[in-house]
Assembly symmetry: C2
Homo-oligomer: 449 residues x 2
Amino acid sequence: MRKERLIIIGGVEAGLGAATQARRLNPDMEIIVFEKTEFISYGLCGMSYFIGGDIPDYNNLIIYKPSYFKNNRNIDVQIKKEVIDVNSKEKYVIVKDLENGGKEEKVEYDKLVIGTGARARKLNIEGSDLKNIFTFRDLKSAIEIKEVIKNEKPKNAVVIGSGFIGLTMVEAFVKNGIKTTLIEKEDHILPSFSNDMSNLVLKELKAHNVEILTGVSVDAFLGNEKVEKVSVNGKFIEADIVLISVGVIPNIEIAESAGCEILNINGIKVIRVNNKMQTSVPHIYAAGDCTHTFHYITGKEKYLPLATITDKQAQIAANNICGKSSIYKGTVGSYVERVFNLEIARTGLTEKELIENGFKYDEKVVKSRTRAGYYPGGDRITLKVFTECGSNRILGAELIGGEFVAKRIDILGLAIFNNMKLSDLYHIDFAYTPPVAPSRDILWIASVK
Amino acid sequence: MRKERLIIIGGVEAGLGAATQARRLNPDMEIIVFEKTEFISYGLCGMSYFIGGDIPDYNNLIIYKPSYFKNNRNIDVQIKKEVIDVNSKEKYVIVKDLENGGKEEKVEYDKLVIGTGARARKLNIEGSDLKNIFTFRDLKSAIEIKEVIKNEKPKNAVVIGSGFIGLTMVEAFVKNGIKTTLIEKEDHILPSFSNDMSNLVLKELKAHNVEILTGVSVDAFLGNEKVEKVSVNGKFIEADIVLISVGVIPNIEIAESAGCEILNINGIKVIRVNNKMQTSVPHIYAAGDCTHTFHYITGKEKYLPLATITDKQAQIAANNICGKSSIYKGTVGSYVERVFNLEIARTGLTEKELIENGFKYDEKVVKSRTRAGYYPGGDRITLKVFTECGSNRILGAELIGGEFVAKRIDILGLAIFNNMKLSDLYHIDFAYTPPVAPSRDILWIASVK
C-alpha cells in the first residue's frame, strides 16, 4: 500500500505554505506540489521594488528553489506541471508536463489543496495585445517589465488602476526616470479610501511629477506592434509601456472541474470554503487568492487577496488535513502599502462597505505627528476612523503618514478584533519616548477628541 | 463672592495638564498654578537628547511659557512660588515667593491638585557633595550638565544605575566623546528586564565602548572640590562627571502636611488616590509621579513614573473636578526607550512581579526581523513573552530591536488590556508590505511557535 498522499496545486505562497506545514505535522505523508510556471516560492509583494531598483536582482525575491524542498523538507515540488483535471470521485488529478511534449499523467491523491491564486484582470479593448502592455501578477511579468525598461528605455509610462499595485508600480516607473501617468476610472485614486484621505496620496504623487487622471476610462491602446499611445476618453496619452492593475480574477477553473462550489462575491468568483478551509468536495481544500476570507465585523464572505491571509489559510488547511483541528476566524482586513514617502494603511470596513451593510456611522479625522514634536525627524500622520453611532465601536480606519503607520493600523485592527469602542483607547498605554513616539499617540488623541 | 478657584501645585506635566483640561471644561473657574522652579511645561523625556546633542537648544524642550497660559488659556501660572503648607480644613495654601525676600501668602482654594512629581534619589555616601555629581530630574540639572560638558570638557563619565534614564545618559555622554562607565548594583543592567534580554543591550553598549560594571556598589566619591574618582568595591574609576540615576522619591511632603493618606509601595511612599484621582482628603486630587497607578493585571497599586500615565491622570483629575465623572482604569505598564541603535520596550508584569504575585508562567523567546527579509534595511528584533501556565494569557513582554519596537509593544499592551491569550494573536491581521513590515510579524510568530 502506498503512503498517504497530499497533492497541492500551485507552488507560490498558499501551496508551499500548506506543504511546509503539512510536512511539519506529518513526517511520513507523501507531499507533491505541482506548479505550472517555472517560479516557486517568491516574494510576490516585493516585485515592484525589484522593478524600482530597491531590490537589485529578482533572485533576491526567490526564497527557496525546488531542490530545497526536495532535500530539506522531503516535499516533491514539480515545476512546469499543470494540473488540467481533477476527478474528485476517484481522487486523482491529471497533470500535464508543459515541457517534454505535454505528456499527461494521472496521479492519485488522498487530500488535495488548491492554491491556484489569481490572475490579473485585463482590459478587453482595442490594441490590448500590443507589446509592452503588462499586467502584474507573477515574477515572469516583473522580469519582462524590467527587461523592457533596461533595453528599450521607455520615456512615458501609463498605469491603469490606482489600487496598491498600481501605486507601487507608479513609484517603480518614476524611480526609473520614466514620466508616468496614472489613470483611475473612479472619481478619486485609491478608491477603497475616502476622498479626503486619498488626497494626501494625490499630493505625494504630484510632488513626484506623476500625472493623474481620475473619472476617466481607457478606450483603446494604439501603436504599431508596440504600444505608443493610450486613448483616454478620446484623448491620447504617450506611452511606451503600460501597466494594467484593475483587479484580479481568482483561478477557480480547476476547482470548478473538481465540482467544488463556487461563490460569487460582488462579481468575483471564488472557491467556497468553510472555516476549516474545506471546499464543498470531500478531501479538497483551498487557500489563498483563489478563495475568500470572512470579515470579522460582518461575518460575511469577503474577497481580499493578501499575503497574510493566504499564509494563515494555508497553515490552517494543512492543520486540518493532518488531523490538527484548526479554525480560520477571518480577517479585519488590515493592510499597508508604502508609496514614495507615505505609508498608507487601512483596517476594518471601508466606507462603501459600511453603507452596503447598513451601518450608521460617525467619522473622525485627526492629524498629528509620529514622534515628539521637539525631536528632530518624525513626520505627519493622519487618521480617519469610523465608529458605530451610539455604541462608538470602531468599524474601520484609514491611516496615512510618513512613518510608523503599519503597526498603528495593527493596533486598530486588534481593537476591532476585540470589539473595542474608540473611547476605550483612552485607557490604553501608548509607550512613549521622544525619538520614536509622541507622548500622545494619534490613536489616543482620537479617543479623546 | 469670588469665583470657584482651582489651585495646582506643580507646573510641569501633571499640573499644567490638569490646568489645561480644567480650563477646557470650565471657562469661568479661576485657575492658579504654583511652580517652585523657574521652568514650566517642558519635555522632561527629551532632556538627555539635549545633552547628547540631538536637540540643539534646551529652549526647544520648553513647550509653553507662563505668558502663554495667561494670555491664551486664562491660567495664572506663577513660577518660583513654593507651596509650603496646605490647610485642608479651611481650604487654603501658604505660598512662599522664592524671590522678593521669601514673602508668604495665604491663598484659598475650592479644589486643589497636587502635581509635585518626584525628585531623583541621591546616594548618601562620602563625597556626595562634590561638584559635577548630578542627578537628573529637572531641566535645571540638564542645563548644568550641558554647561559642564561644554566648559570643562570632561574625559571620563560615570553613570550609576542602568534603568532607562541611566542608559540614555550613557548615550548622551558617549555622543559628547566622553569615555563612559556604567555601574549597576544588580547582577545585570536594565534590572526590570530579564538577564538574556538585557544582554542585547549590553552588547550594544559595548559596541559603543561603554565600560560596564554589574553587581557592584559605589562606596565613595573622591576629589578635591570636583569629583575625580568613583570608588567601586574599593577600586577607583576616573570620573570628571557623575550621573546618579538610582530611582526617584515622590514629592509627597506637601500632601502629607495636608493630611493626605500616604501609601508605601515596596518602600516608595506615594500619595494614595482612588480611581477618580482623589486623595483621602476632600477636594484634594493628585496626579503624576507623586502618586501611584493601578496595574491592570493584578489590580494592585503600582509606582510607575511615566509621562503617559501622568498625562492621563491629570486629565482625569480635572474631569472629576469639573463635574465630568471620569475613571482612571490603570496601566499595563508599557514603556519604551531608545539607546543608541536599539529600541527597548516592555509591557505587563516583569518577571519579578510575576513571581511576587504568585503567577505560574511560561516564557517564550522569538527572534525575527522588522521588515521583509529580502528588502534592504530592516533590523533584528527579539521578543520575550510571559504567559500564564494553562490559560496562555499574556502577562508580560520584553521587546528589543533596531526599529519599530514601540508600536509593537503597544499591540501587546492592548492584548493584555483585552485579556488575550498569546495564541489569540494567531487570528490577528498584521498589515504587511516589504519596506515596512514582514509578512509574518514577530508577534504572530510568537502565537504559533
